[in-house]
Symmetry: C2
Subunit: 190 residues, 2 copies
Amino acid sequence: MDLLKQRIREVGVVLSDDIIKLDAILNHAVDPALTTAMGKEFARLFREENVTKVLTIESSGIPIAFATAQELNVPMVFARRKKSLNTDSTEMYSERVPSFTKGFVTDIMVSRECLDANDRVVLIDDFIANGDAARGLIRIIRRSGAELVGVGIAVEKSFQAGGRTIREMGVRVESLAKIASLHQGRIEFE
Amino acid sequence: MDLLKQRIREVGVVLSDDIIKLDAILNHAVDPALTTAMGKEFARLFREENVTKVLTIESSGIPIAFATAQELNVPMVFARRKKSLNTDSTEMYSERVPSFTKGFVTDIMVSRECLDANDRVVLIDDFIANGDAARGLIRIIRRSGAELVGVGIAVEKSFQAGGRTIREMGVRVESLAKIASLHQGRIEFE
């Protein structure tokens, strides 16, 4: 998706060979026109899959997943990263995953009321690095009995293993921008 | 906003005299049509204020704030609740606030790059209870030099002090649904 790549070139801040900060468009400030366009693109890619739910995880994936859900006219569900007083863990699917950027382990949770065996789910997220969160969400989808029709990622860091490991599970993964390298501060797309 | 009140009556789960769970439409699963309608309503209410940024805080406020930003065609910024490896606190405004539903204290942060004295900001959130998060965000807006044009809340629990304390600061607060009481499991709107 050329518009996304162009914006990444304009605003991306390479912090190391592994980390690019996209706070200006994805992870802190959000550009509604760009995000709406990403949602339309994911909807186009998955429209024939009869999606019933768009699943993501808080927080940065929410705008893109929401824009996708708007376009597909189905509910969006965002997995929570920890327990709050409003939830009851006996009602939740829970998986423990490490977070590449946050540097610690979190429990991700989806209510049993939000996913069931009749659902056809597309999983949307902003970034994929090592894929821990995505694999945790895929385990939750499978435990619920729902069908995973595919994974849509805004920015795949293809020099890290996440996207590959999920494709090797037989899952369709669509990434709107694939970054092949951040070496020496330079953003190189595939 | 009648559609929101109707959906609250349909799906709201009253957990105590203080807490209503709206996981089916706001806090876990999100209804894109309802959320888009809420965004249009906030855009209508604040359109003449020449808003330049829509500010919210992760996570449940994000879809509504995003829908508002889509309609006003301005960026949406979501405050983060804690530090991750991708942020540098010397670049951030930070305020410490208690969370009514989460039961602990969090630091909320907005990058200095995202708000400045030229901005006219509308603050959007899903719920207001005691208003601690909203007051923290208002302190951040004021420290940045930006102008706060108003606060838009999907669900105000008007039996708690949050909305009132912010109105008493002279800030315009618009709530789409005001819950006067959750006593004995009954949802009563103002």
